[in-house]
Amino acid sequence: MSDESVAIDSETVWPADSEDVDEAIVANWFVREGTAVTAGDPIAEIQIEKVSIDVPAPATGEVAAILVAEQAEFRRGDVLARIIPR
């Protein structure tokens, strides 16, 4: 993994009204490893207590790694993916 990659940290998209929840699932990835992304575009959708939240790309670049599979559970603060900025 390149040192230049940017982590997509689930903490940054955690909704304020789900403070007391610390588990979620990845409902959908809209990209694969290697897909070019534009900062701000939704690249995934996570679900916390039946609420869907879009995860925007934090930078323009390429998806280097997807670390949580679709339908897999993760914990608040887990890194979902890494992006190499361009």
């Binding site: 409902a27 959908n28 809209f30 990209v31 959708e45 869907s52």
Partner: protein
């Protein structure tokens, strides 16, 4: 009218951006694009605004277009579908959402006696350019009043075009076509294909979706997989189950899978071409067995290619209310293994 899209869709094809959309997002993409360019397009239905449609069919539209264009309505199918019919006749292009197709009974007079017939009964002096979109299908234990597809019911009654997408790519193109059509279109989306978090979709419906607008003509079935031995004709969720079955049979039976995409108009020619080649036809339908899509496809195949046919069959839901209990519903809803078995049977390779 936009030109028909000519992009070939193949597995893993790169779209213009590399993004892959769920079927619900692809539908919303098309609705939003049409609303941006045509002020007459608006959406009304139960929970379409704040909630974004209970199966995400209108997710995010309220934020962009506001409550005048994305209208939550009371539980009043006769009222709001009737309002859509009137608005359409007055020149607008409403998209009304019937939350579950199973609720058709409470609004059927407006759907069938008004929406579907008014152009004919007015001698062509009014058009009814509206879309009635509705969630169909089971396989998630929602019982007999929330799990039907009713494809045959709507396709049987004249005056409505009937659309059943199976992938995100198709859903977007067909939605553009539906909204632009000057006649009423019933757009039936399968809940299991939408890609909502609490109801995982199979692997197939999420596809690359171009950002640009494109249309898919009605009446053009799509050969989702080519094969020489057996033709499987299906639609909706069962396109994906048929493709799974075909993969499982790979090497034993070369299975062609045809996705009808629209029931009205129906692309009989693609079905006939295929059965002339394979000589064997299996229809897979999540709707009830009798008096429906499966019988119609088989009838058209026998009318048009009787001499080429050596075997026909169908895998369908039995003529009974859909059970709530998981093992019972799994038993009656056609599964991949049921399709495998039926194809083997037709191909004459069933285990003795």
């Amino acid at each position: 009218m936009a030109e028909a899209d000519e992009t070939e869709q193949t597995d893993g094809a790169e779209s213009t951006t590399g993004r892959e959309l769920t079927m619900s997002r692809a539908m919303v993409d098309a609705i939003a694009a049409e609303m941006r360019t045509d002020d007459d397009v608006f959406v009304l239905g139960e929970d379409v605004a704040d909630y974004g449609g209970i199966f995400d069919s209108t997710e995010g539209l309220l934020d962009e277009f506001g409550r005048e264009k994305i209208m939550d309505v009371p539980i009043s199918e006769t009222g709001f579908i009737g309002a859509a019919v009137g608005a359409a006749q007055a020149g607008m292009r409403p998209i009304a959402e019937l939350m579950f197709v199973d609720f058709f009974g409470v609004g059927m007079d407006q759907i069938y006696n008004q929406m579907a017939k008014n152009t004919y009964m007015s001698g062509g002096s009014v058009n009814v350019p509206m879309v009635l979109m509705t969630a169909v299908g089971g396989a998630y234990n929602d019982a007999a009043q929330h799990s039907q597809t009713l494809y045959g019911t709507f396709a049987h009654l004249p005056g409505m075009k009937v659309v059943v997408p199976s992938t995100a790519y198709d859903a977007k193109g067909l939605m553009h076509t539906a909204i632009r059509d000057d006649d009423p279109v019933v757009y039936m989306f399968h809940k299991r294909l939408m890609g909502i978090g609490w109801m995982p979709a199979p692997a197939g419906p999420k596809t690359p979706v171009p950002e640009d607008d494109y249309t898919i003509e009605f009446g053009e079935a799509d050969v989702k997989r080519e094969g020489d031995d057996v033709t499987v004709v299906t639609l909706g969720l069962h396109v994906h189950r048929a493709l799974e079955a075909a993969d499982e049979l790979d090497g034993a039976v070369d299975t062609e899978v045809i996705d009808l995409r629209t029931l009205v108009p129906l692309d009989t020619e693609t079905v006939l071409e295929s059965v002339r080649k394979t000589g064997r036809l299996l229809v897979v339908d999540e709707d009830y067995h009798s008096f429906g899509v499966s019988g119609e496809i088989i009838a058209r195949a026998t009318e048009g290619a009787l001499d080429d046919l050596s075997a026909v069959g169908r895998v369908t839901m039995p003529d009974a209310p859909i059970p709530y209990a998981r093992p019972l519903e799994q038993e009656v809803n056609p599964g991949t293994e049921d399709i495998v078995e039926a194809v083997r049977d037709l191909a004459g390779t069933a285990d003795e």
